[in-house]
Amino acid sequence: MSEITSRPIWGKLDPADQASAHLVCAEGHGIEAVVAAFAGRDGLLSRATVVHVAPVGAARPAGLGGAAYHRHPSRATALTAFRAHLARAKMGTQVHLAGSEAFLDEASAVAVACGIVGDGLTTELSGPATRRVQCVHCKGMMDEVAVTPFACSHCGINLTVRDHYSRRLGAFMGVCADAEAPGVLPAASRF
């Protein structure tokens, strides 16, 4: 079985001075990467809009200066808002995304589908490096999987976690790791 070695590279948030506006979408602790990237750049923050997935009642994070801040309780509602902001935005706006791998996968797909690529988009991975995984054999879901390969906690098959995130299922796919030679597994690696 061929192994997928190309993990998406998420990089660092990198707001450009010459951008006429900044549109940020962050999930949870991803907002800390946003605050760090914009630290000391009040001029840029005054032209920024921040869409944040955070629990209802959470305080506005410190360090966002004059940015317009919108909190949403779930990823789905935040991405709907993000789409609406994209639809209204003009060229010159730079887009920034920060959060978990699954969040970045979903949010960057929204941006790319809108024609935003390359230096028009910066991304940064933050938060614990674990994945929600579905076993493709028994369909069991597992949260916070930290290593690959691992044994499915539902059916016991050894699973390799693929790097492709299924938006439909909201999970990464786990496929049998030792189909050809049972018991022979590649070395375990952490995400």
Binding site: A16, Q18, A19, S20, A21, L23, L86, A87, A89, K90, M91, G92, T93, Q94, V95, V112, A113, C114, G115, I116, V117, G118, D119, G120
Partner: protein, 319 residues
Amino acid sequence: MSATRYTVRVTEAEAVTPHVRRLRLEPADGAALPPASAGAHTVVTLEANGRTLRNSYSLTAPSLAGGAYEIAVLRSPTSRGGSRFVHERLREGDTLSVSAPVNLFPLHRLARHHVLVAGGIGITPIAAMAEELSRLGASYELHYAVRSEAAGAFCRDLEARHASRMRLYSSERQERLRVREIVPHQPLGSHLYVCGPQRMIDAVFADARAAGWPEANLHAERFEAPAGGDPFAVRLARSGKSTTVGEHESLLEAIERIGVEAPYLCRGGACGECICDVIEADGELDHRDHFLSPEERRAGDKIMICMSRLKGRELVLDL
């Protein structure tokens, strides 16, 4: 590049302006031509006055329909004879050989809106793009700057086809294309494509960057035909062959003439495919491409053989 070549017959040759000749090229032997996408070019081999010239020409809008390629050739006073040959010698019924299309200037399929900008003969790929976008029902606008309406190729056809999506700027009527006024209000996710003189490309990009456009959304077709220069000797170290590069010949054409295959795609100094290591240069490298950085030029150990030359006696290449 061991490119497949196709023999085509000139089935229509028409002066669309006093300086632009449109050629329709259909397969001479019944073999189908590969399909062309908007922005693609073909390399045409011209046997002009006993010399073999190979020039790149953008495929124009009618090529998208399949079955034939069309190109539009500007008569250039500085050309090495290729455009003069097309204008003065080539007749309907003559045959030529062309390469499979190569697209170094493709449309960005996911763009939310496309801004197309052409200057003069730069309209050839841009008009093909506009045609494709119109067929796809995509969002686009077309800006075309010409010296005068009489000198601009396809003005009337394009206006009929693209109507309110098109703006024509004629310098004869004192109309100036002001990119600074076009770029700021485009929806996020727009992509801009420009083809025209180098000065125009630089100016358009400068205005877009100043409005905060990222590089990834800016596309240009930069290539131009190689110009001639003083003859010089070239020696190919690996194949052990040498020759003299003639006044009207490019280094790449001279290398092909002595039977050595060198890689290329655009033949216009834009793609980087023909980069070659310089082993020795008795003289000064005359860089004429848009590919090498100023540092690479200064280092003096690389040359783009489709465009650049030597001012001096002999050049030794790793070929």
